[in-house]
Amino acid sequence: MNMASFAPLAVVLPILGAALAFLLIRHSRAQRAVSIGVLSLTLLLECLLLASVWDGGTAAVNIGGWLPPWGITMVVDQFSSLMLVVSSAISLAVLVYATGQGMADGDRDAPVSIFHPTYLILVAGVSNAFLSGDLFNLYVGFEILLTASYVLMTLGGTGPRIRAGVTYVVVSVVSSVLFLISIAMVYGATGTVNMADLAVKLADLDEGTRTLLHVMLLVAFGIKAAVFPLSFWLPDSYPTAPAPVTAVFAGLLTKVGVYAMVRTETLLFPGDSLDTPLMVAALLTMVVGILGALAQSDIKRLLSFTLVSHIGYMVFGLAMSSVAGLGAAVFYVAHHITIQTSLFLVTGLIERRGGSSSVDRLAGLAKLSPILALLFFIPAMNLAGIPPFSGFLGKVGLIQAGIELGTPLAYALVIGGVVTSLLTLLAVARVWNRAFWRKPSDAEHPDPVLRAEPEDSDTGSRAGRKNVTLLPRTMVGSTLGLVVLGVSLTVFAGPLFTVSDQAAHEMLDRSAYIQAVLGEDTDVPPLALKNGGGK
């Protein structure tokens, strides 16, 4: 029996776990054990899936034995299994962090008991989106994760969260409606929603219809991925959510949008019909996003803007539609999920320790808490792309691919990428200088916590209660784990680049995917591979 036939368990396990966690809503200890156990099991399963795909190639699972293109198909290929492993590792780390926060603060501040089931459903939705082999199932995956994210975003129902949640919900629903309209139009034009079947049938449509469907899908996914003209909702809504929630949103949700864009570009609409607009969007996303980040004084908002900006790198790699470019984009997605999540987790710790997440109020944290400084410094430098970290390697890969392509627009994007990298360094260095490096006496409005005597340093009177552990071991430990994972991406960059290049090659080739779903004897429409098809 092939390992890949267990792929649906990556969706089913978290949902069952969510049901169990919901039943245990009054037993917080058992609930934590269930959700952490279920996620660990899912991660293990996904590692096995990655290994089996690595050996045995792309595999498709027909749910309930209904044959494609009629039934629901789940496809495990190298890209989706890599995304599954990275996303589950991140979700597990964030869950441990959130559990630590819940244990440190008690359950009075927020209805934490609803957190665990909702979180598991979010993970199930993300896995479903990564695995789904047809457009409508992708839509369902999106809706599962979005509905869970609405609840997580407004957890506790405080004023700022509700205000941010309204924007988030409305924008997400509009993008989902756009996606649904595109699905209806795709079905009307081709009579199928199975992605492998569409890859064959869309090639027969005339140019105008194809472009219309292509643009509709890209706009719908572009809103979810926060690509520039469609990105304004993100910095508005993410920063108000609780720290672990923001971290997991920043790491995963936009990347699901990027994943869907990659599938649209490579599987459904190959060729380079919309590459030029995508490249312009990528350039604007990078530059406008990072300029927004420079204006912020709140670390969470600053990081949200860098998140938008770095989506541009991935779209850049995707828009080149060469093996080198797409491979670098896949590597960059894996790198960015890890780094952005760890930065948001550290910001949560900074907020606990320093009493604020605004750089105007923070000061002297490097002396107060050296471990926090280390935890911030490493991913921050990694994000900015300082050698030898993985951010540098990913950007070098993208820039090499851009120079290989050699068009004027590609050179403009290369320059834009370098400038964005420098401006990212400026943005995080500003946070570093203010929050960590300067003396509390130099700050204009330092938080009283920062001037507290050393013996009060690990307890405080936050939220009107005494003896709150400011830096619980579980929270620091899970953040440290993520930072170490980020560093290990640097150490194991060679193998990871091999995986991502091979994934890119397979995606651009398409025949493995289509034949895995529709059978070995399916004719794949011919497609010219750029740059000789290999590296």
Partner: protein, 196 residues
Amino acid sequence: MSVNLTLLTVMGALYACGIYLILERSLTRVLLGLMLLANATNLLILATGGYAGLAPLYNKATGAHEYADPLPQALILTSIVISFAVTAFMLGIIYRTWVLARQDEIQDDIEDLRVAETPRFDAEDDTPIPAETSEFPLTMLGGDGSTVSDHPTAADGPDEAGSVTAGAKEISARDAAAEEQPGSQNVTPGPEGGVK
């Protein structure tokens, strides 16, 4: 593929009203707009299924060309359930907004407004003499920060004037800034340190 004109007209009207409503500032209207959009999309999916026909799988004698396409109906069913859940959640949020803020309107992001109103001059980033802000000051630069002026000088303001009027005489901005020290009698520093 034949299309039902009535359904198509209704769909267009629903889309038009829905888009009009989601552009409103009142949350309840936005919600109504989203519901109309979802229903219009359901009609669109139904239209993609083609002609109306008999129920599939019900009677084995029915010929293949007499069936209605069952897939769009399954899709619609799923999307109805999803929009139902989202509508219920939105109603909850709108009620909560009403409880918290006593208004049914989308509110501005306070932090956004704050960033927009931030003056161009930033004491720490834009002070001409670099302030020694390190926890570990370099002793060779004096270390006690004696060379650092805490007041932003007149030349720092967004409206950088070439010269300023001090009392009865016209002096250059640089001299005015130099004189604007504690104990200086020539100029009176305003709240921001500039010359008013």
